[in-house]
Amino acid sequence: MQNTKNTTEFSSETLELVNKIIRRYPQGRQKSALLPLLHIAQSENSGWLSSEVMDYVASLLEIQPIEVYEVASFYSMYNLQPVGNCVIEVCQTGPCWLKGSEELIAHFEKKLGIKPGETTADGRFTIKTVECLAACGNAPVIQVGPEYHENMTNEKADELLSKWTTENKCSHTNPYL
């Protein structure tokens, strides 16, 4: 399978990492590397998986594109639509709700003028509600890329938002690098 879109293809450095990951699995079981590869592919494609990107991953693993689509659509960390530069994921499950996640979500909505699942007009921020992030002792909790921010308050949210705006925060970084 040939992929002609240069923008989709990994750099030689990333390909080296990809091959290292594939070698962790027995011969003929390279499909096992699919989840890690999708994380890498998403980080290198502005935080989402287009069908071109998924087809490219399929070609790297020598599997059918449908095998990639069915996996990418099953797991909640893979975005199948474009997202903002900085994706803010707010936990809404019981333990976070007990400690005020609903108020926190409302605060983000108000500050950014968007609802969960939406992206600001300037493309900077997306808000996503997510289920339990396994940090319930420090609820409420949000995740931005690989970072956890715990014991969140509205004030802390304001500080982070202004910091991220200033530094033009991008949450899609290759999680292995």
């Binding site: 590397a33 989840l35 289920e131 319930c136 609820a139 999680p175």
Partner: protein, 435 residues
């Protein structure tokens, strides 16, 4: 002070580095086991210790190992379940980020006992930063001859790798985890065959929880008898309890099994009581899946005996008046909490996380979420309350994996113990606790 097996050194600066860990006696159990024990002797020691799986089911760990099929020449696999996603549970992350070498040490012991030459740590994708910490520790272990070819000159070789998940609670179910490790959707498999016979790549496989694995070095170092001497009844050893919600001191505590629940909630050594001097209303004692209990039944059994933090005592009274130790995710609610709303967040969680294979779970979890939303919003009817219970009964026991039960139990128990609160929502046509 309770015996500390998992948290003893957790506050030592730099514990995640090989040198610090080794200086504290780390990897001694690997030296001991590879030199003095056959693989079967390691399994026998774990069996004798009475250690039970710490992921939630509480199945005897040594017995699980004993099921592995050693009759074929197929490779065997040892897999660590680090998919920690059960709401209220945040103990494994603590071990992974602060004491990764203890997990690796346990992985070597388990792999040796089972005859695995390649092992995997499957960690939820959200915890990528913890995966990076563990991968660094694995590199150090290779560099120091504790992983790779011919470990410590014993002739035993082992490769160990981490694999991230993609965000799916269901992958904490061991056959779904195996599917995911094979690069597929996390759809649980029909059992039997059990993974010990047909697991990863159709080969014999054992999947254990992080905490179960991290305790193995202590058992090998100190002996099964020392471990079995801790605890009460068939609840041997220590257990990590991750406590959250409306308590003064949320956090991760290592308790000796058998500690009275009342002491755990109110003692300053543990949760430190309820916030703002409020009254305790309810507890979900073992992660969101286990039945919720009102204050009187979590502190004392229906017979009036003090309830203990043990598999048996928490289950005393069955589902009528008891609950389960589960994963040790201890969620505490004070008297400001709306039980219906809390349950709604759980119902939404299970609806979101159902893999969709079995109709009762795929459809039923969505119906329960909708009905609970209706009741919470003041649009519910009295019939809705019975409908909820009926749906939960039709899910329970009718699915391939336990996610169906996990979704049903919280609903059934909340209505059982807090029916009045559901009825108040219907009568008032709003949440009686909303501001």
């Amino acid at each position: 002070m309770a015996q500390q097996i998992l948290l003893e050194n957790i506050e030592v600066p730099g514990l995640a580095s090989f040198d610090v860990y080794r200086k504290l006696g780390g990897y001694a159990s690997v030296e001991k086991a590879l030199k003095n024990f056959t693989p079967d002797e390691v399994t026998a020691e774990v069996k004798k210790s009475g250690l039970r799986g710490r992921g939630g089911a509480g199945f005897p760990a040594g017995m699980k190992w004993g099921f592995i099929d050693k009759s074929t020449n197929n490779p065997r696999y040892f897999v660590c379940n680090f998919d920690e996603s059960e709401p209220g549970t945040f103990k494994d992350r603590h071990i992974g980020q602060l004491n990764p070498h203890q997990l690796i040490e346990g992985m070597i012991l388990g792999s040796y006992a089972l005859g695995a030459r390649t092992s995997y740590i499957y960690i939820r994708g959200e915890l990528f930063y913890v995966l990076r910490i563990i991968e660094k520790a694995i590199e150090e272990a290779y560099a120091n001859g504790l992983l790779g070819e011919n470990i410590l000159g014993s002739g035993y070789s082992l490769d160990l790798y981490c694999q991230p998940g993609g965000g799916a609670y269901i992958c904490g179910e061991e056959t779904a985890l195996i599917e995911s490790l094979e690069g597929k959707r996390g759809n649980p498999r029909i059992k039997p065959p059990f993974p010990a016979i047909v697991g990863l790549y159709d080969c014999p496989t054992v999947v254990n929880n992080v905490e179960t694995i991290a305790v193995l070095p202590w058992i090998i170092n100190n002996g099964a008898d020392a471990y079995a001497a801790i605890g009460v009844g068939n609840s041997k050893g220590t257990k990590l309890i991750s406590a959250c919600g409306h308590i003064n001191k949320p956090g991760i505590y290592e308790i000796e099994l058998g500690l009275p629940v009342e002491e755990f909630i109110y003692s300053d050594q543990y949760c430190g009581g309820i916030r703002n001097g409020n009254k305790l209303k309810a507890v979900v004692a073992g992660g969101s899946s286990v039945p919720i209990l009102p204050a009187d039944l979590i502190l004392k059994t229906a017979k009036g005996e003090p309830r203990l933090m043990s598999y048996e005592s928490l289950a005393e009274g069955g589902f009528e008046t008891g609950t389960m130790l589960g994963s040790g995710g201890f969620i505490v609610m004070d008297d400001t909490t709306c039980i219906v709303k809390n349950l709604l967040t759980f119902a939404r969680f299970y609806h979101h996380e159902s893999c969709g294979q079995c109709s009762p779970c795929r459809e039923g979890t969505g119906w329960m979420e909708k009905i609970l939303q209706r009741i919470e919003d003041g649009r519910g009817t009295m019939k809705d309350i019975d409908l909820l219970v009926s749906i939960s009964k039709h899910i329970e026991g009718n699915t391939i994996c336990p996610l169906g039960d996990a979704a049903a139990w919280p609903v059934a128990s909340a209505v059982r113990h807090f029916r009045q609160e559901f009825e108040d929502h219907v009568k008032l046509q709003k949440c009686p606790l909303s501001k």
